[in-house]
Amino acid sequence: MTFLLIRPDSWNFPLFVHVAGAMVVTAAVVAAIGALVLAWRATGEHGAALTRFAFRTLLFAGIPAWFVMRIGAEWIYSKEYSGDNDPSWVGIGYAIAEPSGLLILIATILTYLGARRLRSGGGGGGMAKVATVLATIAVAFFVVAIWAMTTKPS
């Protein structure tokens, strides 16, 4: 069933916080993926710089924005639902939020370790590649979440 919802005005700000956080976390992860993909082909100091750049993007933008998104989600949920009788799209949101946060966290740690090793000339490209894959999976999760939040399946 599809619902068209006219929201009470008091729901708008929590929704704004949720969506803005989701947009920024997506932007940060996409930027980090771009840098990491470039790092695959880069050599020497460039590879280390790109990996360090991806690490900082995830740490200073991705992770804080994930928390903003998640806090906004809980805020709007507390206004909209009482905890029982949740529609399935809310469940999809919950099922995606925590794993995507975990993926971003692991990707951040791996890019940190990868950047450190690359800088010291001891390899680390493999870690950056794994981080790229994890961050890409997180973005795929985000697309599923956007689908669930907009189409609101049952």
């Binding site: 599809t2 006219i6 920024v24 997506t26 930027a31 460039h46």
Partner: protein
Amino acid sequence: MCWSASWRDDYPQLVWGNPSAATVTTPALGPYDLPRMYDTLLFLHVLGAFLLVAMLGVFWAMYLAGAPEWIAPLGNLAFPLWGLGSIAVLVFGIWLSFDVSVYNVYDGWILIAIVLWLVQGAFGSKLSQGYKNVASGVGGPPALSAHLIASGAVLLLLIDMVWKPGA
């Protein structure tokens, strides 16, 4: 809060109010039924908005990094994707305004959105073209003001979409 009966004509099975309290049964939907069209348009509209913001994030990241040589190739990626997101937001947004009879393309909040889209389009275009030039090695990064204005316009667009002033 306002709505007209014509909305019901478009989507009779849609429900107003708190969905947790709603108890309406609907027939199974076919692949081309109207609610699926509405859902699809909204999904593509929002997906375009996320892509647009993601590319603005790439522009900011490049700017904050000082757009050095090692990150310049990202400009080649951001240029077409920013354009794709930008066009998707506009096309599917206007399509939605035609698809749903309670929305009109001349509603105040939609006109505001179009103006803001034009502003972000003008300055986002400067950014995407500028970083494409950086990637080609023919120029420095665009000005901070272009980043701020494009991002501010997108932020106001999001506020406009959430609050829908005058709707």
